[in-house]
Symmetry: C2
Subunit: 300 residues, 2 copies
Amino acid sequence: MPLLVVGSVALDSVETPTEKRDDVLGGSAVFFSYAASFFTPVRLAAVVGDDWPEEHTRLLEARNIDTAGLQVVAGAKTFRWRGKYLDDMNQRETVDVQLNVLGRFEPELPESFRRCPFVYLANGPTGLQLKVLDQCPGATLTVADTMDLWIRTEPDGLREVLRRVDGLVLNESEARLMTGEKNLVRAGAMVLEMGPRFVVVKKGEHGAMFFSEHETYVLPAYPTPNVIDPTGAGDSFAGGMMGYLAEQGNFEPKTLKEAMAYGILVASFTVEDFSLGGLQKIGREDLQQRMEEYRRMLSF
Amino acid sequence: MPLLVVGSVALDSVETPTEKRDDVLGGSAVFFSYAASFFTPVRLAAVVGDDWPEEHTRLLEARNIDTAGLQVVAGAKTFRWRGKYLDDMNQRETVDVQLNVLGRFEPELPESFRRCPFVYLANGPTGLQLKVLDQCPGATLTVADTMDLWIRTEPDGLREVLRRVDGLVLNESEARLMTGEKNLVRAGAMVLEMGPRFVVVKKGEHGAMFFSEHETYVLPAYPTPNVIDPTGAGDSFAGGMMGYLAEQGNFEPKTLKEAMAYGILVASFTVEDFSLGGLQKIGREDLQQRMEEYRRMLSF
């Protein structure tokens, strides 16, 4: 089934302890879309400026990602993010953010986008997330991401989002910030009480936790020795997860756990190169192979 | 099969964000022994002063832990450690250490101890670890723990220990310190090259990684909402792991992975109370029940 994502498209500049890349393709909706495209057709709603290289659009379209919802704003610039990873690659500093066109993004979804049964709201202002939900009243499954900025500055909007979505994806520090609870098992359960039917807490190199009314579990990350650039890992985790759910057409507990595992594995390829490099090298069969290794790793 | 442990016995004073305990039973060999005693007879070699409460010895003996190797030094004091956990329970400060009798511990193992097929060298000076290895030339499986202090101050002794043991257990920061490599998958592989047949990297609330020539895997921690005091988690992980191996009488890959899982589960009970409180509440059947939940959590 088709999967809609609304989020950011960016030109990223990334510095790691050993390498540097400038103005590479990035943004939450880009990592998400590409990751999901291993599983299902994707519809991408985002905004760019007229500095946006047309080749990036073609790259996405070649993956069965519908870019009819990609607004190009004349006379304006694409969102830019510049970040730097510290020595152990688990911590990063945002060096510079230029919101540019992203600051006034008003998604007006094409009709076919509004009818998507699976909807993902990448990290963004809660007002924007709510407007997308308004436009997709018939969605089967809606999942949102958020970040510390909106937790701090838009608590009311976030509460409203949490009441309206089926699932929330956030990282561990955000779960702690949102609840004031340090123990992640408790924090996840507290977020669940705020409204969604399930909550996924991303733990970076340590995997991800899942919370629903009847289940709490944690799955480890796939242990890759080859971490080049963690940028986009969380968004491609979500893309792999949602892509698999949309492909399967349901979100039963069994499917959700498999989806978590696919998200973890897609993310493990993302971190093995800059930008989309890690994902561009692989096909679905590489995901299957790593899935077999991952299942073997977890059985005893 | 019987399992020998040589390590510290301590009186711990522990402060968490919400509670405090003074002079409770602690030390690496104590947590290890008690955890292992769910699976196999244990022989404990350690040293205490004449301030040592005799009831602690009786508590251990009631668990089929042979204390014939527990030296009591007259006119001297037992090792004392005082620590404080910070807000998220993942970081702790050592507030005070009084080595006392531990500073001149010279293990002279009884004959029955020397014939133990399974041997665990808890964290301690490398000279002491080597003396124990000298006394147990016929051991089937020898595993050592270490810490940042010995990595920094006794690199030659540690290299010798690594050449002589079958397995090494250490935590993630120690693996990084020992190798200068930040990526844990690489760091573990590098430690493996220093001599042991397998390496276990403990990641606290994130579980543990295993490295051997043919296998690398990670198992997550059991997600408990109830973390009261993490003291002894690493030692009881090792105790559960080694206890299970000794019970099974082999260390084939399949047994090692099950042993890792038992170590993780025993540790998950340890953190649910101060000192040995969490382990004293349970029996083998509680471990089995949590093992079933853990297996269910990891299968999809």
